[in-house]
């Protein structure tokens, strides 16, 4: 029995080493590929040498594997034999005892012989097993040797790769330096040194900017990102495409030296980046689109014609990819991000269908965008009449909320409102169609409205105390992330939100500002409308808990809103109410105001935002302020038609930072009843609020 067990463990070991070998082989194969791609372009021969070596090692590996599997089979036959022997032996023993007296001695002798034979055989087998073990050990040794060699090889590859890289970089940078000098002499480019001493473009002519964009020797992802965002401030999309095309023609004319391929690669890469990130440019401009398609088709032909060999495989791939994108999706369809931004006409309904390229925030968004579309379409008009249906919702509809996305709410297990006061959504569509007030501009013309639209049909107005503050924070964050994520990078350009046609140029920035005003007015109203002193203190305390939750959610926009409400003239003067709060709330109050203070240009808030982990909602006002400030710095175009690009680079860095936060969404389960409460709240005007505030705490005479 022991033997059999041993055999089993032995087999296990064999198997294990087999697997290891197989793994090893795969690594080797992978390396092979790596090597090929590393050495592929310049060092084909070296690569082949390595290939041979690896092939050899691989063969060895295979041999070892074969040996082991042979051994394994052998082992198995032995163990069968052993089992048979054991069986025989025990048979003999029983026979022996049975026939002890009856059998003749000769027979016994014969049996004895057989037993001896068997025992002999057993010893032989044991010896054989030992020999087998020896062989396995040998095989393992061999394997470790192979491993060692592999390791060595790996190091070599790395060395070669890095030396190749340095070589390339050196070559490129020396070429670059020569070009830079030439450019600087001709006055087409001005350079500066950045903080870490790197040369950076300060200003350049549009043509030179595009040249750098598409030149292999000046690859700079930051430059690409900044340029593709901001070029619209100083040239049209048509002009850019034209310049890129010219770059291409120029390269073609320059002929075919060995470095041609990366040149095309950069042009292709630039176009790909453009298409991936700013597809709207092409979607909204048919002429541009056609020009692009034309160019790409032409590109393929011409480049093949010039020199088929030097086109790197990657270049070709990407090139075809652009073609595929363009061909497979006629103008309207691809949206680079899953933001089905409806333009006022709502004429691009097909948008949601394809979100082929980037899908960063898709996971959480499907449901929300529904809501959003509803909002945008119903716009300002529908708000009032829907209000009457507000209280007719039925219970089971709650689960039908228009949320198709992840239903496993993360932070909010306690999702039910704290009090028994429950409103339910109507049907799913009602949930998404009704949400009126936030979208109205709280501008002058709206001031008279509240009394007109609704004849206070409400027996009891829903208040802040009807819901769990944590859940209100969740739902506010949900709403605000929806508003926040649809803000487009382009809305920040050229101070679009400050222009006369801002609603057109920066609709989403305008919306989020309006929303913030609504939220501030809502919170102010909630406090001053609470005539009962004790309840008012409770509202105040709950509002601070609410703010604490907003902070936990990293909703800094929300925190800013609450702090503005707390500092408004109507609330700030309610000193008695404030003082009546428990001391921990007073502490909280102070810390919140400190956090969002504009002291040193929002230093504290900025630091907090920079150290927080997304998802987060920043306060857009900071970025808008920075951009205005930046705008006052120097001219956009310098003498000689040079674009002051360093300014645009900075502009892009602000906008792109904002943009990074838009990518990661929250996993919050929407609760329509709370969202509707917030959205439909009819806040008091500043003056009304002030009057109520005076009622709460009459001024001393």
């Amino acid at each position: 029995m022991d033997l059999i067990l041993m055999n089993e463990t032995f087999q296990e070991r064999c198997k294990e080493s087999l697997y290891q070998l197989i793994e090893e082989k795969q690594i080797a194969l992978h390396k092979n590929n790596l090597l090929e791609s590393a050495a592929g372009i310049n060092d084909k021969e070296g690569g082949e040498n390595f290939l041979d070596q690896i092939q050899y090692l691989q063969d060895e590996n295979e041999q070892a594997a074969a040996t082991i599997s042979y051994l394994k089979a052998y082992q198995k036959s032995h163990s069968d034999e052993l089992a048979e022997l054991n069986r025989l032996r025990s048979e003999v023993i029983t026979l022996k005892s049975k026939n002890k007296f009856a059998n003749e001695s000769s027979e016994e002798e014969q049996l004895q012989n057989t037993i001896e034979d068997l025992q002999k055989r057993l010893t032989e087998i044991s010896a054989e097993k030992l020999a087998l073990e020896e062989r396995v050990k040998l095989a393992e040794k061999l394997k470790s040797m192979v491993e060692e060699e592999n390791e060595q090889l790996r190091e070599d590859i790395q060395k070669i790769q890095s030396s190749m890289k340095t070589e390339m970089i050196n070559k490129i940078s020396s070429e670059r330096a020569a070009k830079d000098e030439q450019d600087e002499d001709s006055g087409a480019v001005i350079f500066v040194q950045d903080e870490s001493g790197n040369k950076q473009i300060k200003a350049a002519t549009p043509k030179k900017l595009v040249e750098r964009l598409t030149d292999y020797s000046s690859y700079d992802n930051q430059f690409l990102q900044a340029f593709m965002l901001t070029f619209r401030c100083f040239m049209t999309t048509g002009e850019l495409l034209e310049l890129i095309m010219n770059q291409y023609t120029k390269k073609v004319k320059e002929g075919t030296n060995n470095n041609q391929s990366p040149l095309y690669f950069r042009i292709v890469n630039t176009l790909k980046f453009w298409i991936d990130n700013y597809w709207d440019d092409f979607e909204s401009d048919k002429e541009l689109y056609e020009k692009l398609v034309n160019f790409i088709e032409n590109f393929d032909d011409v480049s093949k014609h010039i020199n088929e060999k030097v086109m790197p495989p990657e270049g070709l791939n990407i090139n075809t990819k652009i073609k595929q994108i363009c061909k497979a999706n006629p103008p309207k369809i691809i949206l680079p991000k899953d933001i089905p931004l409806k333009r006022s006409g709502g004429n691009t309904t097909g948008n949601e269908l394809k979100t082929s390229t980037t899908s960063a925030s898709s996971a959480t968004n499907t449901g929300k965008t529904d809501l959003n579309d509803g909002k945008m379409n119903t716009g300002s008009s529908s708000g009032k009449e829907t209000n009457t249906t507000f209280y007719n919702y039925t219970d089971e509809e709650l689960s039908n909320e228009p949320n198709t996305s992840s239903t496993n709410a993360s932070q909010n297990t306690g999702t039910t409102p704290s009090s028994g006061n429950i409103l339910k959504t109507g049907d799913a569509t009602a949930g998404s169609n009704v949400d009126p007030t936030p979208w109205k501009d709280t501008g002058p013309e709206d001031d008279t409205e509240p009394s007109v639209g609704i004849s206070q049909p409400v027996a009891r107005r829903l208040t802040f105390l009807d819901f769990d503050p944590v859940e209100i924070a969740n739902q506010l964050t949900y709403i605000e992330f929806d508003l926040f994520k649809v803000i487009k990078k382009e809305e920040f350009l050229d101070l679009a939100w400050m222009k006369d046609n801002k609603e057109e140029l920066a609709p989403n920035l305008c919306k989020i500002a309006q929303w913030s005003n609504h939220v501030v007015h809502w919170l102010v109203s909630e406090i001053v409308l609470q005539e009962n002193f004790k309840l008012r203190v409770t509202v105040f305390e709950r509002m601070l808990l609410f703010t604490q939750s907003l902070l936990k959610l990293n909703n800094f926009n929300g925190v800013k809103e609450v702090s503005a409400a707390l500092q408004s003239s109507s609330i700030y003067r309610l000193k008695k109410t404030k003082k009546a709060m428990a001391s921990k709330f007073l502490k909280l109050y102070d810390s919140i105001l400190k956090l969002v203070s504009n002291e040193l240009n929002f230093k504290t808030l900025r630091t907090k935002i920079h150290t927080a982990d997304p998802p987060l909602i920043p306060f857009p006002g900071i970025y808008q302020g920075d951009l205005v400030f930046l705008d006052s710095w120097g001219k956009n175009i310098l003498e000689g038609g040079l674009i002051n690009f360093i300014k645009y680079q900075k502009m892009a860095s602000y906008i792109l930072e904002f943009n990074t936060y838009q990518r990661k969404g929250y996993n919050i389960k929407p609760l329509p009843e709370i969202q509707n409460y917030i959205k439909r709240y009819e806040p008091l005007s500043d003056d009304e609020a002030y009057k109520y505030s005076q009622k709460c705490e009459p001024k001393k005479i």
Partner: protein, 204 residues
């Protein structure tokens, strides 16, 4: 030069006014004393704090610009709240921006009562040929609201330093003034209710 043994006094200035009246230009002109920063390599978030050396003391001014955030109308009171000085700017070539100043001044009074220095600034005097608001009108309004008044051109660098110098000189008195005002804060808040205040919201 200031007395180094005493901690430097800090004052907050908030800049108010409609969009594009030149609030930011005034600040950058004052802070960096140049209108064209074409060759400045590093630009970026600035904490907008500047030390001023007066004859008898040194103070630190912290400037707060609401530019770009005008649409977050309901947030602006919180910026006014903790400022010692409100600089209300209009564009002399834009009558509407002048009319709206009354509203901004009202807001400041509502938040701070008399416990604040208000300066009415008519900016862009370099646009003389397009002037829509006369100097007299500016002075008149300043008198009416009991504020300081000055005309400037951030672009030409005209009167920018004097603006800040005058503010700085007006600042020491605020300490004693502050104590007095604190005793009658509510009285002053009432100004808001007395005025036929324009509707709030975005006039931009």
């Amino acid at each position: 030069m200031g007395d180094n043994s005493q901690p430097m006094r800090k004052y907050k200035l908030v800049f108010l006014g409609e969009q594009s009246v030149g609030k930011t230009s005034l600040i950058t002109r004052f802070m960096y004393d140049t209108f064209d920063h074409a060759y400045q390599a590093t630009i970026g978030i600035d904490f907008l704090s500047k030390t001023m050396y007066l004859e008898d003391r040194t103070i630190r001014l912290q400037l707060w610009d609401t530019a770009g955030q005008e649409r977050f109308r309901s947030l602006i009171p919180s910026y006014i709240r903790d400022s010692s000085v409100a600089v209300v700017v209009y564009d002399i070539a834009n009558r509407n921006s002048f009319s709206n100043c009354s509203k901004w001044i009202d807001d400041v009074r509502a938040e701070r009562g008399g416990n604040v220095i208000i300066v009415l600034v008519g900016n862009k005097t370099d646009l003389a040929e397009r002037r829509e608001v006369s100097t007299e009108e500016g002075e008149q309004k300043a008198k009416e609201f009991n504020t300081m008044f000055i005309e400037t051109s951030a672009k030409a660098g005209y009167n920018v330093k004097p603006l800040f110098r005058r503010i700085a000189q007006a600042l020491p008195g605020i300490e004693t003034q502050q104590q007095q005002q604190n005793e009658y804060p509510s009285q002053l808040i009432d100004i808001k209710m007395g005025q036929n205040k324009q509707n709030e919201g975005c006039a931009c």
